[in-house]
Symmetry: C2
Subunit: 409 residues, 2 copies
């Protein structure tokens, strides 16, 4: 492939999304791309003509190392939903005019479900008009809810952060000789992968959470309160992990029982928050004991200082594999990870038709949820454990991790 | 000194309180203490006859290294207020009977303001009855609000966590090309040391928080909202750090404007939470933009994985210095840190009369608060920066930090 490439980042950021950016950038340059552009704020920024020449900003091997360790999206992100093809030609015209003008032969989009919808539409449109541009999706999401791929880069680091932090919170919660219930709220609106990862805290030196509530199973608040009472008979410090997306049997979100102001994004996703606080208040009212509601909030997706080395490496690999596939003539694909071996853990990249991935959500399989004991099964933990292994030490400057910084304004 | 020693941990835990425990234990054994006991749940547990022989549990050099890296109080903690001397002899009798029975010659208590009140009363009582036991306070608190000492062990690690995490949150908050206001709530009910530490995030690669609200200055919510509006004219992603203890001019806590269930502990401290959420809701209602309320909650005091090496070392030193002083005949003292040199940073230990420390709260000096710009001054940062330097890598097992664990039930 002779020509230029462009890469964008989209959706919620992760601790390792910039490692994928590095993977795309380095591999494209190594394979002879003349220019490597970065769109600012994804497709939304590209529509406004916002992009940069990556070589103006990533100038050294040290920059590469810093960028691998920089959380959040270096290029900025967006939650922009492309119109269906035929609904608004103006949008597509503007995008393709820009791509032609920049001499783009390969278009890479690092993102989750919604972002793969963008790749699907652009590749369909490109094929329709005979654009001769490869469109490739690079998987990314802490939620781990993308179809086909064994797991998604970003998930392992968030899981490692959650496991470590839940362990520290459990350690903290049990110091006082008094009844105390801590409810930890974890991201993942429909898929319980991250909430389940709280079970990683359980080990030789830690009990782990006492209960884990995944969004795959509707929540019965009365039953929850009764279980808390049962647990308190044998233990003073109870810690429960719940998904932000917990729903009642009638379909309402648990957090809708609170009075928080809510927002809805372009894809119709409601901002969810307050589940832990609501449940903690219910426990306090019922049992009169001290409670804490802890929301990991964005910390769980941006804690690059606790990133998994396996995750950083795989994030780089999926970026590089997307470029390799495009240079070899593939398009309308997403790179997927395939687990070749569980023990020892080995994983390889493949590519997969974007049409079978976009907008499909992968939740935790029922057989990995222990509904009786409100926990995940050992199989769930066997699946997650390899993804949180090893570290890539932050580059510390003056006591804090140093990042590579582009001023998005 | 021939005999045995006993050590306890009290008040809110920190990431390095166990390093002080190691400092007391190792130094006491090195100097010839026969037995080193640990009271479980501090003075409250001792009153119930709960203590352990530390050598039964800290058995190897590896245990020592793990304990230095274990957050929260290994021995458990308490918030128990001793009665005034003369009010309840029964309590004092029970404590001193236990100390006599165990052949205790040195009593070490690792804690903050309230814990120093315990040391003051016990040493006064011990002197009154001629007990011949040394009572020494070992400073500990993330809040950094103890008098006389330059700073307190526990503060540096919390400050390092806060600086790092605020930086990651800022990075995360600016990815979308939309107005967004993030309010971060930080511990410290009357003293703004930790909230001020959020300014550490500012550097060559990060703007830092846009405003910092310390509890030393009453908050005007109307003025706050107006400042947010001003900031939004030039910047889309605004990040503000606020103390959990923010008060209005009329003396009420900002978080009292919410409807959260509250608890009051034995020292009359009210559980404070909800300040960030309240302010974020006000911003959302006024400006209609997306907001986030992030509470660092207990994470900021238990994040041993991000502990400062300077802090861990000093925590060990103050424990050891307390034992050394007791063995040399001192009592009714707290160990304090004295900064000998700022550049290069050097710090030494001294001892100080406990009566002049207990119940005195050290807040941020007014000249280190830039009230106009809602920030801390460079002098504040010069003071904090040396305390967050360097790391002590966690001992990672199976992807997570390993801790030393005592089953407190």
């Amino acid at each position: 492939m002779v020509g230029n490439i462009i890469v964008g980042q989209s959706g919620g950021p992760t601790a390792v999304i910039n490692s994928s950016l590095v993977g795309v950038f380095q591999t494209a340059k190594d394979r002879g791309a003349v220019k490597a552009y970065g769109m600012l704020h994804g497709i939304q920024g590209l529509l406004e003509g916002k992009y940069i020449d990556l070589e103006d900003h990533i100038k050294s091997d040290l920059d590469i190392e810093l960028l691998k360790r920089t959380p959040s999206a270096y290029l900025g992100s967006c939650r922009y939903k492309l119109p269906e093809i035929g609904e608004n030609d103006e949008v597509y015209n503007r995008i393709f005019e820009t791509l032609y003008r920049l001499g783009i032969k390969g278009f890479f989009y690092i993102g989750g479900n919604d972002s793969m919808d963008t790749i699907r539409k652009l590749s369909d449109y490109g094929e329709m008009i005979g654009a001769n541009i490869a469109f490739m999706g690079v998987p990314k999401t802490i939620d781990n809810d993308l179809a086909v791929t064994d797991h998604t880069p970003g998930f392992g680091s968030a899981a490692k952060y959650i496991g470590s932090t839940v362990k520290e919170v459990i350690r903290d919660g049990r110091v006082f000789d008094a009844n105390m219930v801590t409810i930890i709220e974890i991201m993942g609106r429909n898929a319980g992968w991250l909430t389940g990862a709280s079970a990683l805290a359980r080990g030789e030196d830690c009990d782990g959470p006492d209960m884990i509530y995944l969004p795959e199973i509707p929540m019965d608040v009365g039953d929850f309160l009764q279980r808390i009472g049962e647990l308190q008979k044998n233990k003073k410090a109870i810690v429960v992990a719940v998904s932000e997306g917990m729903k009642l049997a009638d379909g309402r979100y648990v957090c809708e029982l609170t009075d928080t102001v809510a927002f809805v994004d372009a894809f119709g996703h409601r901002s969810l928050t307050g589940t832990a606080r609501y449940l903690a208040d219910q426990v306090a009212r019922r049992y009169g004991c001290k409670t804490r509601a802890i929301e990991f909030n964005t910390l769980q997706r941006c804690s690059a200082h606790m990133a998994s080395r396996v995750d950083i490496t795989e994030a780089f690999q999926v970026g590089g594999a997307a470029v390799k596939a495009a240079f070899e003539g593939e398009t309308a694909k997403m790179v997927v990870l395939k687990r070749l071996s569980q023990d020892p853990y080995q994983c390889a990249t493949e590519t997969y038709d974007i049409h079978e991935i976009a907008n499909v959500e992968k939740t935790v399989p029922p057989e990995w949820i222990d509904e009786d004991n409100k926990y995940v099964t050992p199989e769930f933990l066997n699946y997650v454990r390899p993804l949180i292994q090893a570290e890539l030490s932050p580059i510390m400057v003056s006591g804090l991790p140093r990042h590579l910084y582009y001023d998005l304004k």
